[in-house]
Amino acid sequence: MGKQIIRDRRIVMDDWSHVEDEAALPSSGKIIVSHTRWQADKATLAKRGDVGISIPPTLDVATLAPDLPSLALIALPFNFIQPKPEGGRTFDGRSYSQARLLRERFGYKGEIRAIGDIFRDSMHYAWRCGVNAFELAAGRDLDDALKGFDDFSTHYQAAADDPTPIFRRRKA
């Protein structure tokens, strides 16, 4: 309660709450449930109109296409993972593809929220892929994280934020 997030490059109070799979659904309010729970109880959940889901990075977002009109929010995990056999942890970049596909291919207009280990220096790329909200882990400095959006003022390729690649802009 009283948690802050970044939405559309501003720090705001989070008006959504995560509901665990085993927990009872609150009677009202905006809730984020797992993709699994959504699958199991879609008919009931869809009626609320204030439902979001968190999806695993392995999900093919094409399978969500029919559900998108009923979903006000999709939460994508951005996490460090520890591959075998040893060495440093690597940042899992699958959700960058999920975000772009949701925005660019399936025209999703709701909130796309990064959750997990998303950090300042990875946020600019997520924003370009269509992520517009960032729920940072507890203890993260949101004012500091906001600076991540300004890492670059231009870019080479087209993405969810700009359909014009540099070789077109140069001639404009």
């Binding site: 440093g88 690597t90 960058y96 291919r105 220096d121 231009t154 870019h155 690649p165 070789f167």
Partner: protein, 558 residues
Amino acid sequence: MYQYDNYDKQLVKERVDAFRDQVRRHLAGELPADEFRALRLRNGLYMQRFAHMLRISIPYGLLSSKQLRMLAHIARTWDKDYGHFTTRQNIQYNWPELADVPDILEALATVEMHGIQTSGNCVRNITTDHLAGVAQDELVDPRPYCEITRQWGSFHPEFNFLPRKFKIAFSATTHERAALLTHDIGVRIVRNAAGEIGYTVFVGGGLGRTPIIGQKVREFLPELDLLSYLEAVLRVYNRLGRRDNIHKARIKILVKEMGVAKFTEAVEAEWALIRDNPSLKLRRDDLEHFRKFFQPHAYDASAARDASFEAKCSSDKAFAAWVEHNTWPHRVPGYRAAFVSLKPRGGTPGDCSSAQMDALAELADKHSFGEIRTTHDQNLLLGDVKVADLYPLWQALQPLGLATPNIGTLTDLICCPGLDFCSLANAGSIGIAQELSERYADLDYLYDLGEIRIKMSGCMNGCGHHSVGHIGVLGVDKEGEEWYQITLGGSASDDATLGDRIGPSIARNDVVGAIVKLVETFVENRQGEELFVDTYRRIGIAPFKARVYGARKDAVAA
């Protein structure tokens, strides 16, 4: 060559500023280790055995003299007065201080250079034929396509955290010199039956722990569809590539596990959805924009009328040998491309001092339109030298120790930094390279042997490309001791092949002796002017094995 405009300059400047702040936050304890690691790697900064190592990108191996002078300045000011040219056509410095790295990157930015994406799980430096633009057997200059791809892959928001590193190479020649089939994506620029330019695309090649030759996924991709196809391949890889095990995370494993047919199907399905996306589709005038940076130089039409060159070749045997081995035909009459050997007797392959770099920059200005190229064999090249200038060039290179006439010979071997520097290595490779260069210092004998490609890596990661060496040497760790696994018959060329293991690994002190025995076996069995690799293919592994291991019982089991 490509010139930065305000966009490029802005991006590099902002990257340097961001990294300076990341280093500051890291040193202040504000940036956790995992995060800093992921970020420093994207700027080419590694943590090695004794110090940091900084790798600087040389896009498709092309440098201006001004840039080379800056590389010399960096070696002098912030490192131990030398740099090391790598098999990826880049340069690395082995001893920078972390706190100095932002200043080094800022200095590099003034000459349009950087360390961006020379490491990390992202699209790495784009490589190509070191003779691009001057080769006689070239269909079109591949460098405009390399530059388009470099820009597309730089800070790509979707593909900046891939399962593993990703290497793309281009080639446009009849004889392939860019090792396409050992890259994650190899793009061969071709002309189809209708006379249109396009690409044959290979995916899933790679060396390292599981060396695999790339497989063809598309016979002909139309010229304007380059970026959409690359994006389709990368998206399939980013979504489906393994992330549970770093040794199985390259795209080659995905291709292998899915099977090339299923993988190709997935790429084609993705491509069908984006190929007509105007954000990705190139236009003719886009290509023109990039082509104009790589126009032929203002060649001297009278260069071919020179008579002094032939005369010098007849009168000076040493010069003639250098010309024969270290220069290459040029598409323009009266010009040749001149290799600068970084494999002197007893030296470390690929190392170059700041004094050598400065002198080479001078020579490039004087004799080769101010450009220098790096090769994936860890040499340098002056691409456009008038034949009349070759003699003075050779004379100037000699006192610099850069005229060893050994290109393509046994002593022009490539090797990784090995245990002397690298934190991944199991064994040294530089020492063996130095011993071999001493052992084969007799040039006449060396020339008689013809082309023999020796490639050495200090560990399974295969930075020295051992799997595709005619003779490959791989360092392995055996209970804390350095041992070496030898392979024979590999090739990175048109006939790309992985070498065969000859038997159990060999102790450090016996490695050079074993290579000598392999060479002797070749000489005894050679027919006419046959090359080592051809003799090997004809007679098979048995005679080589017998010679190296003799009656050792364990030789059979391996």
